[in-house]
């Protein structure tokens, strides 16, 4: 597998480590139902078959957390971007 790192370019997947589904927002710790929200945040995943957005760390590379758009049915990777607006800005 090769993963396009938005900073380094396409690299072997061996350089990356996988975290999981992206797009999760860490709940407001002061919300009245924070505990329930944290439970969902930690444990509940869509586990979609098909196009997904995943968080990967370019661990053996530039150490950027990136979002990779991947089709779990075909392994096709259709894009990637920095997970952080900060990293994105710093990369420009």
């Amino acid at each position: 597998m090769r993963i396009p790192c938005p900073f380094c370019g396409p690299r072997d997947s061996q350089e990356f480590s996988f975290l999981g589904q992206t797009g999760l927002k860490r709940p407001d710790p002061n919300a009245p139902d924070a505990q329930k929200q944290f439970h969902d945040y930690v444990h509940i995943r869509d586990n979609k078959a098909g196009l997904t957005k995943e968080l990967w760390l370019h661990a053996n590379g530039c150490r950027s957390w990136i979002v990779v758009e991947r089709n779990t049915l075909t392994h096709e990777i259709t894009g990637s971007e920095f997970a952080s607006p900060l990293t994105k800005e710093a990369a420009q």
């Binding site: 380094c8 690299r11 072997d12 061996q14 053996n60």
Partner: protein, 201 residues
């Protein structure tokens, strides 16, 4: 207290054996440890990258390089390693004041961390350097893809590496965690053996 003086030792000193090794009668690869070289990491603070570029341009006479690039001037080399982060090497006169100069240039724009002792830096050159490196380096080092001044952080064999090309000989430099120096050398030596290699002390 005079009897308790500390003498420094380079990362690979205990493991390097100068001379010719591997296949007889040919030297496809030359290896040496880069000592007398200061290293530092320079990390721009939030939103300060542009200012940092300007400030280091004034102090060092070069612009901080973009992704996958390095630039050198007067013994100082800036190597892009992460968004907003550079590995900086200083040799010659720059060996001794690199960190200080960086701190002065960075001011409150960036974090400067002395890494002079954190890495083992090896220089690999020769017409078979590329073939030897290809036995572990996963990125494309063909001149069509990687040229003098190009740089990368990547994974080779089992090491997190920073790799940059310093001339067309070709000559490459490879920096890895100091504690893995012995293993790095072992890999480089076994990879270069079929081409014959010299180790320069």
């Amino acid at each position: 207290m005079a009897d308790l003086s500390l003498s420094p030792r380079s990362a690979l000193a205990p493991f390097l054996h100068a001379g010719h090794h591997g296949a007889e009668g040919k030297t496809g690869v030359k290896l040496r440890e880069v000592t007398a070289c200061a290293l530092a990491e320079l990390t721009a603070f939030k939103g300060q990258k542009a200012a940092l570029i300007k400030s280091t341009q004034n102090a060092f006479g070069v612009a901080l390089p973009a992704a996958n690039k390095s630039v050198s001037k007067d013994g100082v080399t800036f190597i892009s390693v992460s968004p907003g982060k550079w590995l900086v090497t200083g040799e010659g006169a720059a060996e001794h004041d690199l960190v200080e100069r960086l701190e002065n240039a960075a001011g409150s724009l960036a974090a400067v961390v002395n890494q002079s002792d954190a890495r083992a830096v090896v220089e690999i050159s020769g017409d078979k350097a590329r073939s030897a490196l290809a036995k572990g380096v996963m990125i494309d080092l063909d001149p069509a893809a990687f040229k003098t001044g190009d740089a990368a952080t990547s994974f080779a064999v089992q090491f997190w590496i920073t790799l940059w090309q310093t001339n067309d000989a070709p000559t490459y430099r490879l920096a890895i965690f100091r504690s893995m120096g012995r293993d790095l050398l072992h890999w480089l030596e076994s990879s270069a053996a079929e081409f014959g290699y010299d180790i320069h002390g």
